[in-house]
């Protein structure tokens, strides 16, 4: 159980049965008046945000969140199957919940799954992932068009801008947080 004086940026609390994260926090206390805790809260499932002011005797439940490392097994239509390598328990996460993560998800990848009351609400991928280029235009040496990047497509179907010397079959390191090319990986 938390009280308002525990409120901090990043704290995760349960309000009306939903998990919220505190995205902004300000302590106020008008002269001789009572302590006020002004927050901005974001619903961790829907992403909806709102502002709310609490008093020091307000109490909250800690949001029952659990993070588990799981392995991506396979996808079937819009359903993505993951397995906990310790318990062998399997869960299904929808394409919608995965969002942009599907651009970087490959078989057997280990990801962190965030669960709220046993319900998966988010997935965190490793920061860096290595993906193979499956489609790239050849590098025209002496190209004077002035562009210093070109688009390539990697094994997941994701398309990104890379330096012109990258060719089909090469492996790239990509930052999953920004979706940007970092470097070529030599095996």
């Amino acid at each position: 159980m938390y009280t308002a004086s525990d409120l901090r940026k990043g704290l995760k609390v349960e309000i009306d049965g939903e998990p919220y994260i505190v995205t902004d926090f300000q302590f106020s206390k008008p002269g001789k008046g009572q302590a006020l805790y002004r927050t901005r809260l974001k619903n961790m499932v829907t992403g909806n945000a709102f502002e709310r002011t609490f008093r020091s005797n307000d109490k909250f439940q800690r949001a029952p969140l659990e993070e588990r490392t799981m392995q991506f097994l396979y996808s079937q239509g819009d359903e993505f199957h993951f397995m906990d390598n310790k318990t062998f328990e399997q869960i299904v996460i929808s394409r919608e919940q995965l969002g942009d993560n599907i651009n970087f998800l490959i078989d057997n990848m280990e990801v962190d799954v965030l669960l709220f009351k046993e319900r998966p609400i988010g997935v965190t991928l490793p920061n860096f992932v290595n993906l193979v280029v499956i489609k790239a235009d050849p590098w025209a040496k002496g190209d004077t068009s002035g562009t210093d990047t070109k688009p390539v497509t990697v094994q997941t179907g994701y398309t990104l801008q890379v330096p012109p010397f990258i060719e089909e079959g090469e492996k790239l390191q990509i930052d999953t947080r920004t979706g940007q090319y970092l470097t070529r990986v030599k095996e």
Partner: protein
């Protein structure tokens, strides 16, 4: 330089001393660890081996005032539990001064004199805070009028709905002290625990707060000197503290006894860290102290 504010902080405190000494005030230093405190519902003290760390030097300074020390000031550390934010530290520096024979209107004038004096003497790279303090025509705004101007409801409606603090913080405070400092004055009677009720209008207390650029800097009032009335207010305040599940400390009996000797007077508390913030152009109180609780 991480510590460049320290020399400005020292200059500010030195200028405050010079101002009061020039005016014939006596600097005092009273104990900060006390067996009893003035009961305040919204201030939680730190305990110290069965006693308390002071939440303000008010009690001891008023006893000195009652003993005939008519112009006194003090710069000291105060402690308030669980107060931490961009404008709050649980241990902070307070300036308090008291003067016999004046009321809150004269005290507002003296407060303005002090801050203009300090702003003119301290060398500030970002002059915005100092420039505001140097303005000649400070604003005087009653709480009633401020709510009419800036809040969606009147003061009476806010009080009836138990939303005075919320509305003050959300709608009123951000508008105060813009372009020039604002004295917000004549607080609802219920919100001035140690203040005298206004002569000719007992619905309001002779209390004021100073705001500069939305920042609350000081709280002052004409002192209540009627012992019976003060005792009754303390009993009410202690009941509020008990209602919050806290244990009120012992009644400050010696303070109440000495209050009987007090002639008319006015007193004020000013947050020194916040004044330094203003004159340094700092956004957070963390930027103007050598250490915060988190860096110790």
């Amino acid at each position: 330089m991480a510590y460049s504010f320290l020399s400005r902080r020292a200059e500010i405190i030195q200028s405050i001393r010079t101002f009061f000494i020039n005016r014939g005030y006596l600097e005092v230093d009273t104990p900060i660890r006390l067996p009893c405190l003035i009961p305040e519902a919204h201030i939680e003290p730190e305990q110290s081996s069965g006693w308390f760390l002071q939440t303000s030097p008010e009690m001891c300074m008023k006893r000195l005032l009652a003993a005939g020390h008519n112009e006194i000031f003090q710069i000291c550390r105060c402690f308030r539990k669980n107060e931490r934010g961009s404008r709050h530290l649980p241990e902070f520096t307070m300036l308090e001064w008291y003067r016999a024979g004046i009321d809150y209107v004269e005290l507002m004038a003296e407060c303005a004199d002090l801050l203009r004096f300090v702003a003119a003497r301290v060398d500030c790279p970002d002059r915005s805070g100092a420039a505001l303090l140097c303005k000649a025509d400070w604003e005087y705004l009653t709480v009633h009028r401020a709510f009419d101007l800036y809040a969606p409801v009147s003061v009476d409606q806010a009080l009836a709905g138990d939303l005075f603090d919320e509305i003050l913080v959300r709608d009123v405070e951000p508008k105060l002290g813009k372009g020039r400092p604002t004295f917000l004055h004549d607080y609802p009677a219920a919100l001035g625990s140690l203040a005298r009720l206004k002569k000719g209008d007992n619905r309001v207390a002779e209390r004021f707060e100073l705001y500069v650029d939305g920042l609350e800097l000081a709280n002052g009032f004409s002192e209540l000197t009627e012992v019976g009335e003060q005792q009754q207010r303390f009993v009410k305040e202690r009941a509020l503290i008990e209602g919050q599940g806290r244990q009120p400390g012992p009644m400050p009996d010696r303070f109440l006894a000495d209050l009987g000797e007090l002639q008319s007077a006015a007193g004020i508390a000013l947050g020194v860290d916040r004044l330094v913030m203003l004159l340094c152009g700092a956004r957070s109180i963390d930027e103007v102290v050598a250490f915060t609780p988190e860096t110790l």
